[in-house]
Amino acid sequence: MSAPGDRRGAGHAAPQAAAPLLEVDGLSAAYGAVQALTEVSLQVMPGEIVTLIGANGAGKSTLLMTLCGEPKPRAGRVVLAGEDITGAPTHAIMRRGVAQSPEGRRVFPRMTVRENLLMGAEALTREDPTPQLERVFALFPRLKERLAQRGGTLSGGEQQMLAIGRALMSKPRLLLLDEPSLGLAPLVVKQIFEAIRALNAETGLTVLLVEQNAFQALRLAHRGYVLVNGRITMAGTSQDLLARPEIRAAYLGGH
């Protein structure tokens, strides 16, 4: 595996030599009779930012949730670092080094910022959380200013920072981000994406990013997958996908 520093910026090819950190193979999931995912296969290499783009209701969030064990897949396999985690309970999957910043942020509104962050570490590690707390503050200095404030009183952007910071507290190997740009001003989105880029460049953290904001997501990620009606229709490097006319027409507003 090459040094993480050289993969800064978009479009770099993923290191193909290493074994994938996350491998999803023929995954299908359904809510009752409604088929949400059909034979989805994707790979995330260590140190990579991979994005999953698609329209509303394409199954992006469902895929992330299925990776985390809810709903249980109907078919297919999920392999994390060579270990089959298909159908394992959520808390067991998280314990293997996965962290998720869920859709809609879901910070604990009546807990302080500090408590929110510590909740991220509590269930999964027994280490002293202080050093990791400092790392999160270095990434999002705003959180340090808001330390004693309740989660529910933060602005949307701060809540998103808190949700990502909280997920980072368990020192995950794989960070799952579900629509971090949702409902945020473009400037704030830029800040948050910049932080994710820095995190990946400096620590080599592997990120699977689910986004509707395809343009921003592809600029950030190394590779991307396009999900349409629960199926992967396209895959490739970000530069590749950004250049394709059908992507430009469907997701980038034709510019």
Binding site: A99, S101, P102, R106, F108, P109, R110, E122
Partner: protein, 449 residues
């Protein structure tokens, strides 16, 4: 559970009050007239028309429109005053605790130790006044039940309408163990608690996936099932006759007998035998049990488990995303809450020496839940104050006879209007950086922020 709130987190304005907080009198009058109309619709049937048995034995219809008019007028004026008065309060968004919140907090710092001091010295203060001590025991029983339920409802956010079932299970467990197998109180107490905790887990399993209203319905049903079983399993529980002759507690083996002979409490300590010894002992027993409940709750709140409960109350999906085992967290809240209910039940059985299913009806669950909600969900001091006000207040208004319920209901409405998040509607962070700050619950909505 929570009052309807506008998106900004301010209490929903009653009609006639606009967003900026200025009441327009015309709108307020219109709103009050509407309320009076609704009241008329209700009271016309309930009060206005009355069937009575006439002198010839036939049903006659008696009309009481005067009373209806008085009631409607009262509703009209009450609503008018409420609209205009609430409208004058300006609700400003700020992270600073509200005026009342700050004041209550300040008072709380002194109040809790003061209350504890009064509680500890009550037998001395009352000079052994039997009535006051009995009232103290009653209030403390509800304080303990409130604190127990607070774990489930206040901390873990699981709305439990059947809490009285665990109270009943604890009482029956101790009563049966004592009368059938001769268990002493100090042996029966933990067993009753463990049995109640076991039933708490048993209730927890089927409701793991339920939240809010659905959870409330199932727990309500659970409470009723337990009561109906107690009522109908005559061979075990004695059915409606209940269990009598439950042994009174002894002072660690020394019975409270009136003869005062060798081996009794009075004899051993060289005291004049007095019936108040047992009452004083019972008082300190329930005080100790209640304080144990409080201590365990406060300790657990600072532990990972307690914080997981609070996180669960705030957002279950986020909990899952953080790797918290939601199943264990929920079941442990049910189990520990139920255990304290069981302890209280065992105490109740030994104090009364007689129990029957009548003591474990839904109204008990409702009163305990009201204590928790009025006190402010999750607040220990608030629950204690609410229990004192509700149970003590209920006794004070005993002379009012059936109007007591009216005062009781009115007091609840007033508290919920003035303090929609309960008497002490704040949450002190379990991890604080330097100075502890509490933010008024009024500013933080339920659910997602």
């Amino acid at each position: 559970m929570s009052p309807i709130r506008s998106p900004e987190g301010t209490p929903a304005s009653p009609g006639g009050v606009n967003r900026t907080g200025k009441a327009s009198p015309a709108a307020a009058v219109k709103d009050a007239a509407l309320a009076a109309l609704v009241a008329f619709g209700l009271f016309a049937m309930m009060v206005g028309l009355r069937t009575e048995i006439g002198p010839e034995g036939a049903l006659v219809l008696r009309q009481r429109w005067g009373d209806v008019a008085i009631l409607c007028l009262l509703v009209f004026l009450g609503r008018l005053v409420l609209s205009l008065w609430l409208g004058r309060r300006r609700i400003a968004a700020s992270t600073a605790p509200g005026r009342w919140t700050a004041r209550l907090q300040q008072a709380g710092r002194l109040f809790a130790p003061a209350m504890l001091a009064v509680a500890l010295t009550l037998p001395a203060i009352t000079q052994g006044d039997r009535y006051l001590l009995d009232l103290g025991i009653l209030v403390l029983t509800y304080v303990m039940l409130g604190w127990g339920l607070n774990i489930v409802v206040g901390l873990a956010g699981l709305l439990d309408l059947g809490y009285v079932a665990f109270y009943g299970i604890g009482a029956y467990a101790y009563a049966l163990l004592a009368t059938e197998f001769g268990f002493s109180f100090w042996l029966g107490l933990p067993v009753a608690g463990i049995l109640a905790a076991f039933w708490g887990v048993l209730l927890g399993f089927p409701v793991l996936r339920l939240r809010g209203d659905y959870l409330a319905i199932v727990t309500l049903a659970f409470g009723e099932i337990i009561r109906v079983v107690l009522l109908n399993w005559v061979s075990l529980t004695g059915g409606p006759d209940g269990i009598s002759g439950i042994p009174r507690p002894s002072f660690f083996g020394l019975p409270f007998t009136m003869s005062g002979g060798e081996g009794s409490f009075a004899g051993t300590f060289g005291l004049e035998p007095s019936p108040s010894h047992r009452v004083i002992f019972l008082y300190y027993l329930i005080l100790g049990l209640a304080l144990l409940t409080n201590w365990v709750t406060i300790r657990l709140r600072r532990q990972p488990l307690g914080r997981a409960w609070e996180a669960l109350r705030e957002d279950e999906i986020a909990c899952r995303a953080l790797g918290i085992n939601v199943t264990i967290t929920k079941l442990s809240a049910f189990a520990i809450g139920a255990m304290f209910g069981g302890f209280a039940g065992a105490f109740f059985a030994t104090r009364q020496a007689f129990i029957s299913p009548e003591s474990f009806t839904f109204i008990e669950s409702a009163i305990i839940l009201a204590i928790v909600v009025l006190g402010g969900l999750g607040s220990q001091v608030g629950v204690a104050i609410a229990a004192l006000v509700m149970i003590g207040g209920f006794e004070i208004f005993r002379d009012l006879g059936e109007y007591r319920m009216l005062v009781f209901g009115g007091a609840m409405v007033v508290i919920m209007v003035l303090r929609p998040r309960g008497l002490v509607g704040t949450r002190t962070p379990s991890i604080a950086l330097g100075q502890k700050r509490a933010i008024s619950g009024e500013l933080v909505g339920e659910g997602h922020g």
